[in-house]
């Protein structure tokens, strides 16, 4: 059974259709290799809206969304997060006054089991849990090469690093599925390459399936196992990068269109 199913979802704001009958599934099918599904489309194609539906920020008018067999549309954002669905945001949504460490520790919030009383005392279970969480977070710092910034408030960090911290926060949640919203937007070439490397490592080393939203064709075609193309909220094509690139509808709607971007 698929990890995530997104079935005929319709979402509109004040009559504007943001998502219009989109359906897709995310692995794992056979075997245990994690897959990377890319969702591409021009700005305003409804990519981010799909993520907002998935993480419970928006409620669609129609459609069915299930994750590990449970109906997501009945859940609130934090419950969805606790089920193992982690995401990053198009415009970095970090907690700007907190340090990198605290931001990552926050990703582990739902893994903690101690209560307010233990927190006030900082003894026994609370202390042990915090120390253990720190060790886990340090693994991520190591994985994403964030050592030099550990104690910096994130608002002081360069944009590319902030994006990486946000990815780290999502990883700290130990997700079963990772949603990345334009992970390389606004990055220079070097930062983009770094991020691509991390994304691949997450899929291959950590085995976490990923849904990635972007409009950078080059990156998407390099990384993705499958691609879903959207235009004005409507699905245009779904298939392997090679198939999608050949699809005349895609070429018309996106690649050949006025809002297409050069790679």
């Amino acid at each position: 059974m698929a990890l995530l199913t997104f079935e005929d979802v319709h979402l509109s704001f004040a009559g504007v259709k943001a998502v219009d009958g989109v359906s897709f599934e995310v692995g794992p099918e056979e075997g245990n290799t994690a897959e990377l599904l890319a969702v591409i489309g021009p700005n305003g194609a409804g990519k981010t809206s799909i993520f907002n539906v998935l993480s419970g920020v928006y409620r669609p008018q129609r459609g069915r969304v299930t994750f590990i067999g449970e109906d997501l549309l009945l859940k609130r954002p934090h419950e969805i997060a606790a089920m193992g669905l982690a995401r990053t945001f198009q415009n970095v949504e970090l907690f700007h006054n907190l340090t990198v460490l605290d931001n990552l520790m926050l990703g582990r919030h739902h893994h903690f089991r101690y209560g307010a009383f233990a927190a006030l005392l900082w003894y026994g279970r609370a202390r042990r849990a915090e120390l253990a969480a720190r060790a886990k977070v340090e693994d991520i710092i190591d994985f994403l090469e964030l050592e030099a910034w550990r104690r910096h408030p994130v608002r002081l960090l360069p944009y590319g690093i902030q994006k990486r911290v946000e990815l780290g926060r999502a990883l700290a949640m130990e997700p079963r599925l990772l949603l990345l919203d334009e992970p390389v937007a606004g990055m220079n070439l070097e930062e983009t390459e770094d991020m691509a490397r991390f994304v691949l490592d997450i899929r291959d080393e950590l085995g976490i399936p990923i849904v990635l939203v972007d409009h950078d064709m080059g990156l998407v075609m390099d990384l993705a196992d499958r691609v879903l193309v959207l235009d004005f909220g409507r699905p245009v094509a779904l298939g392997s990068p090679a198939e999608v690139q050949q699809d005349p509808k895609v070429i018309e709607a996106y690649l050949g269109g006025t809002h297409g971007r050069t790679e």
């Binding site: 981010t48 907002n52 920020v57 945001f89 198009q90 949504e93």
Partner: protein, 295 residues
């Protein structure tokens, strides 16, 4: 029935004063996204100014002069303490206005002194007959003046260049900026208008029984009014003010009779009870717009 109608008119009269104050709050809120807790002090200052000026210039001229004077004070406050805070969290700015309120009130209190100050208003407690009803003439004055002011205000927002600019800025500051609207001007104008309205309201509050140091509390009734109406709705402010006035008046008249178990003087807090009930149903008030969060 007669009592109820009289009570209603009293409520509408007082409510229209609350509406004036509430309009001040909402105008500032729409322009700056901040609730100015300095309004009570400005209202009190307006009342005190009238009480002093009336001795010199006569009552009506005093009202106009005071309103302009307080508008000027509000402008000065905006320029000195609020403008430098642009871009800071609204909560911080709101607390600054709270601080300003405390300071200004102490200064104004010094002018009031320990005793009640009389306004020299032409109405006092004189009553007029409206058919079978006997009502205080000042309630009618409140209603009429407020109606005129509200009319002028709405016309200002609809038809004048500055009014349109303020509406544009309230709708979307960035777009307004791009259209050449000066945000500084909008800020200043909003404070000036709010100060003007607060002074008129203050004058009305002081009519009848005069003003004393605790009179400022009346201005706080505009807070439930704006919450009930919705923080960002001018119409809501008027409706909210009237609702609060009427509810308060009805409580005054009938609570002792129908619900004595609530204790005495419940009318004083009745606006807050109304506010809580409205908020439980509508978190953004009756006419407020819901903020849509974007991520």
């Amino acid at each position: 029935m007669k009592g109820l109608l009289e009570s209603l008119i009293r409520g509408l009269g007082n409510g229209s004063v609350y509406a004036l104050l509430a309009l001040g709050f909402v105008i500032i809120y729409k322009a700056t996204r901040v609730i100015s807790f300095a309004q009570p002090a400005l209202m009190l200052a307006g009342a005190v100014a009238v009480s002093y000026l009336a001795e010199v210039t006569g009552f009506y001229a005093a009202v106009l002069l005071s309103a302009l004077l307080i508008a000027g004070v509000a402008l000065a406050i905006e320029r000195i303490a609020i403008r430098p805070m642009v871009g800071r969290p609204v909560f911080v700015v709101a607390i600054i206005t709270l601080g300003i309120d405390v300071v200004v009130r102490v200064v104004v209190n010094a002018f009031i002194g320990r005793d009640v100050r009389q306004m020299g208003d032409p109405w006092g407690f004189t009553q007029v007959s409206l058919g079978p009803l006997v009502v205080q003439s000042r309630w009618l004055a409140m209603l009429v003046v407020t109606a005129v002011l509200v009319g002028l205000l709405f016309a200002f927002f609809r038809f004048t260049k500055y009014g349109l600019a303020m509406r544009a800025a309230a709708f979307d500051q960035e777009i307004a900026l791009a259209q050449g609207v000066s945000v500084g001007m909008v800020f200043a104008l909003s404070w000036g208008l709010a100060g003007f309205l607060a002074a008129i309201a203050g004058m009305f509050v002081g009519t009848g029984q005069g003003i004393e140091q605790l009179t400022w509390v009346v201005a706080l009734k505009a807070l439930p009014a704006i919450i009930v109406g919705g923080l960002d709705s001018l119409g809501g402010a008027v409706v909210g003010g009237l609702v609060v006035g009427v509810v308060e008046s009805l409580f005054q008249s009938y609570q002792g009779e129908f619900a004595p178990w609530l204790g005495q003087n419940v009318a004083v807090v009745s606006p807050y009870i109304v506010m809580l009930i409205v908020l439980l149903v509508r978190p953004y008030g009756l006419f407020g717009t819901r903020e849509v969060e974007r991520v």
